[in-house]
Symmetry: C2
Subunit: 397 residues, 2 copies
């Protein structure tokens, strides 16, 4: 096996995916009350009733033959229309469609970094960044730890300092990857903070990978995009805001002509089927329906987050107040057998094996402080309630 | 831009794709009689009437959420069943589904070759190998030219000699990539020849990439697979035998555990949407329909090839007798202004610009002898006839 294949293999099945498939194989439900309650996967299970009537679209002859591999003009036009409100002035010509946000991250890392060069990420960060941004590209990640004292709020000063330190240490940082709204913590970053982050990146001459896959899932604050300047490359997709995670439709936005050309070329290796492109085009082209859907999705997410935090509070479990996305950043520090990564692992396994609840430990997100867990609430209220009840029970034991 | 991005960009839009999109944008038809007749693309346009009634499949809830990224167990089981007759003893566990045969080729090149190592290909070869096998993987191609005197028949002795020469020259060849049935020449390679090729590969300790994407499109001879031994890695897909090129569903088969693990890991970056996986699973699960479809497809391809060769012969144009696939290897040597690559380019441009017929010149397939062109006949008889008539006319001028 080549060294690169080994690297991809070593990075395979991030903890997040392994736990997901284990939990899904023996899933809690009316007919399996002893199964796993899966609150580990950032999957939107609140909107199937809205989607189902829109998904029966006949396959046209043009949908089965070769199409432009970085997205048909029709799909990119529909995407530009949907994204207009969050990405002001977005042009369909600046969009590249790829088989999922994963492929978007990989393509940006490949276009921006030579092997061994680095991407800085505020930590805790989306667990799959470790695979997505490095396994094929050969780039490396440099985490910049945010402080537990502020609820891990995005801090431009910390990034500035970390970039300075990295340069001093001889690390060539090419980009800063920021998930906004945040994941796993679930914050909606204030516009003023994002402006400062962009200024820090510009001052250090690093590009910005703006992972805005939850752009339309902000329910507790107003989302502001980082997209706009030539050194900012946006990522969005259908997985989160539209609850279509299996469709693997990612979209990359850039105003940098070189990055755009490279992404169009690399899309050749990770295209979306014209079949799925056809369906998504049809879905997104009804702008009135889209507007209603996105508003209802936000409403349901807000309701789900509020219900879940109420249950956590009633069970005496702390959390960072969420503003967007699907996840709650839960404070289980008081329940650690010891305040270390090993202690966190023990508690995680107890929750998974004894409680039969899948939530993910902070180490999976490179959180510097042990004891934090990510709980995804974007599933039906009954299941979430069952999961929290089990969690409270296992913590009390 | 990184060097790798530049490499991908330089390899982008192979001549085959550029000509395709130009021809498709102004396409010959009843309402556009002056448009391009596109006989340049290896796209199967003979089976839409058979497919259309089978493609209206409701999207299930499970089709919109995360699935196993290297192919759902259901799809791999259906694929194993369909492929059983051509890949004896194929096991669904040895299959990896990827977003197109392109991704399969890229993944195999990445798993088998470190950058700078080589893959040998009998020439002329499928034009996109240059991109698929090298642009992301960093591997290089070493063509082994077959002889015009035998109609470019696959010759194990030539491969043996070329592998010896490569080793002497310090080139590390890791694999031999063979398209079977052949493309662009359209031969069905005899079983005895394929056995010898496998023996040559084994003797030189190189793996074999068996590109068998036309496995079910042999109409003039019996197809024999190379798949079986651990050092042979098979590729198939829905693009050719099922006429679903836009679906970008490729499948890789290997009995080598390391290559399998690497391919499963790399599939993470180029998955097929669960939406398309669901439809394809439904389509392939009706084994009776599949059997009838594949037989009718072969019959139509044979008829189309026979009709087209008759027209060519009537127009005084030579060709290699085809046995499979969609292409005819047409001998336009007598019409070259001079017997060079430059002369071939002049003739190609005349056919494309004056004749408004898109067929591809041999240089695009690394053919050592100028004057050969690939003509794809898998489209409706009226269009093919119009294209051949124009070709005859432009050659006579």
């Amino acid at each position: 096996m080549t060294s690169r294949a080994a690297k991809a293999l070593a990075a395979d099945v991030p903890v997040i995916a392994a736990a997901h498939f284990e939990a899904e194989a023996d899933k809690y439900g009316p007919d399996n009350p002893g199964g796993y309650v899966n609150l580990g996967t950032a999957d939107n299970r609140l909107v199937w009733d809205l989607l189902e009537p829109r998904l029966s679209v006949p396959v046209r002859r043009s949908d089965v033959h070769y199409g432009l591999l970085y997205g048909t003009p029709e799909l990119r036009a529909a995407l530009a229309s949907v994204l207009g409100p969050v990405w002001p002035g977005v042009d369909a010509e600046d969009l590249v469609v790829l088989s999922g946000a994963t492929a978007c991250l990989d393509v940006l890392a490949t276009a921006l970094c030579d092997p061994g060069e680095a991407i800085m990420v505020p930590a805790p960060y989306y667990a799959a960044f470790d695979t997505d941004l490095t396994a094929r590209s050969g780039a490396m990640l440099v985490p910049a730890p945010m402080s537990p004292d502020t609820g891990f709020a995005l801090d431009p000063a910390v990034l500035d300092q970390a970039l300075t330190t990295a340069r001093r240490d001889g690390v060539v940082v090419r980009a800063l990857a920021v998930t906004s709204p945040g994941n796993p913590v679930g914050q909606v970053h204030p516009a003023s903070v994002l402006r400062e982050v962009l200024a820090v990146a510009a001052a250090h001459s690093v590009d910005v990978i703006a992972d805005e896959i939850y752009a339309y899932s902000a329910f507790g604050g107003e989302f502001t995009s980082m997209v706009g300047a030539e050194h900012v490359h946006g990522i969005w997709g259908l997985a989160k805001d539209f609850g279509l995670s299996g469709f693997k439709v990612g979209v990359l936005h850039t105003r940098n002509p070189e990055v755009l050309a490279a992404a169009q070329a690399l899309a050749y290796f990770a295209p979306v089927s014209t079949h799925t492109q056809g369906l998504v085009t049809s879905l997104l082209s009804d702008t009135e329906w889209v507007g209603g859907f996105l508003a209802e999705n936000r409403r349901r997410l807000g309701e789900s987050a509020a219900t879940t935090t109420k249950l956590l509070a009633a069970g005496g479990i702390g959390y960072v107040e969420p503003g967007g996305g699907f996840s709650l950043w839960v404070d289980l520090r008081p329940y650690l057998p010891e305040p270390t990564a090993a202690g966190e692992h023990v508690l995680w396994q107890r929750i998974l094996r004894t409680g039969r609840v899948n939530i993910l430990p902070g180490t999976a997100f490179a959180c510097a402080e042990p004891g934090w867990f990510r709980l995804c609430h974007a599933t039906d209220a009954e299941t979430v309630a069952a999961g929290v009840a089990r969690l409270v029970e296992v913590l009390a034991a």
